[in-house]
Amino acid sequence: MKNEARLMQGNEACVKGALDVGMRFFAGYPITPSTEIAELCAEKLPLVNGKFIQMEDEIGSMAAVIGASLTGKKAMTATSGPGFSLKQENIGFASFTEIPCVIVNVQRGGPSTGLPTSPSQGDVMQAKWGTHCDHPIIALSPSSVEETYYTTIKAFNLSEQYRTPVILLMDEVVGHMREKVILPNIEDLEIIDRKKPDPKNHKPYYPYDDSVDDSVPPLAAYGEGYRFHVSGLTHDKTGFPTTNPDIAEKLMNRLIGKIENNKDKILDYSTEYLNDADVVIFSYGSTARSAQRAVRLAREEGIKAGWVKTVVLWPFPEKLIDEICAKSKTIIVPEMNMGQLVLEVERIVAGRAKVERINKANGQLITPNEILDKIREVK
């Protein structure tokens, strides 16, 4: 049974989704346009015996979230461009030490202080490569309020399932708009919790045991008697530092593999009119809505246009691009940045289709007409 329809803001839907999936710790620092997320967490978490803390800075809030997750709680932080930059070192720590957590980034215009109250999609590459060196990461990007609710839940589920930080890339439009949503009952949600060690089978407990089938070792919580060590240094299965190149290589392969090898389970995208499309708009986030409108308008004009909206940006849906290349001549990638995810599209297309860009980094949403013009131009 579904609940009544109601008007909800995107940032509010994020908090609602997080609470419904079991988030019980939030640490953050005030920054536009994500602040409503912190404010709502401050109000709602105490009501479910959860904890909220406004830390002294962005770095500290990322640290506190990782600490809380190590006590077994589902933990989240929320920020925007400048704060996302500051959090990167500790995001890398969480990724390497495999501590589940969710980082919300309500993207705003930039670089630097930029356009704090305007949208952008400028952090797509930072989400993937923001912290130093190779590391596993998952990044999701919702395009509506209702999708924000479900994508937040998905972010926690993936984070818990794969023991990895998950980045929820919202943007100012999605974060601030209010829209009709019909939310499910919590009992109907799929909620995934991290695998825990079995006290009978896991003594001694190896927090980075690489012999497990799915490459994701169980994670104990502090205070449960396992007395385990977590370190940002390259570590062996016990968690203690090592400089052995074979162990370092094996660890890196497992970390990258646990996401890459499970891509098919992680990916999430929607399509419209793809079967006979000559021109495909490959889109994500709020831009996907402009793209959807443009494609519908193009179809009214008799142009064979198709639409893709991907919710999962990282890992990137390579196979989907292969499928599009097999049928369509042109792929248009509209982005509120100067060309980021299009680089990945171009890499995979590798000359099999024409790739066209629409870029806008002036704080304004790309309009359906701008995309429609491009469709008419390339058809």
Binding site: A5, R6, L7, P116, T117, S144, V173, H176, M177, R178, E179, K180, S286, R289, S290, Q292, R293, R296, L365, T367, P368, N369
Partner: protein, 177 residues
């Protein structure tokens, strides 16, 4: 396409974002889809402010208003800034305190009515102008039902202001020319 775009504009502090939220909620009560967005300046009060609502029976893809079918303005600055966007044949609902001689209003249906004055004199508080405006929009355009807008207003406003806002809404209904 079944998609009505509404832009509510004036100055910051006139409660237009709240009015937009209430209008979007009324549409949901009518069983329709709605999206509400807004543009921000850094200032919390003063300055030009606008709230936008899209109402549709179907799915709303692009969430921003580009060509309003309905345009409300409570300040001259807002008229100057946004009038050019209004769709041909669109409805202008403009406070009667605004001098319109400087503007070209061809192909538009003008309703110039005393929104702020009604709030001040009949409701007794200028702050209720946003709710008077909602009443007027509902009366003139029937974009949402009276029943739903009444419920939406009363659900949103603080308990101690229910009477005032209820009166403001009903005075707004009466402003149809």
């Amino acid at each position: 396409m079944d998609r009505i775009e509404i832009r509510l504009s004036g100055s910051g502090g006139q409660g237009l974002i709240l009015a937009g939220i209430i209008l979007a909620e009324a549409a949901i009560l009518d069983g329709k889809n709605s999206v509400q967005t807004q543009s921000y300046g850094p200032e919390a009060r003063g300055g030009a402010s606008r709230a936008e609502v899209i109402i549709s029976n179907g799915n709303i893809d692009y969430p921003k208003v580009t060509e309003p079918d309905i345009f409300l303005a409570l300040t001259k600055e807002a008229v100057a800034k946004y009038l050019g966007d209004v769709k041909k044949g669109g409805k202008l609902i403009i406070d009667d305190s605004i001098e319109l001689n400087d503007f070209i209003l061809e192909d538009l249906k003008l309703y110039q009515i005393p929104i702020i004055k009604t709030a001040r004199e009949k409701v007794g508080n200028e702050i209720a102008a946003n709710i008077v405006a909602l009443g007027a929009i509902t009366g003139i355009t029937e974009i949402v039902s009276q029943e739903s807008i009444i419920k939406a207003v009363l659900d949103r406003v603080p308990a101690e202001t229910i009477e005032l806002n209820n009166k403001a809404l009903h005075e707004g209904f009466k402003l149809i020319k």
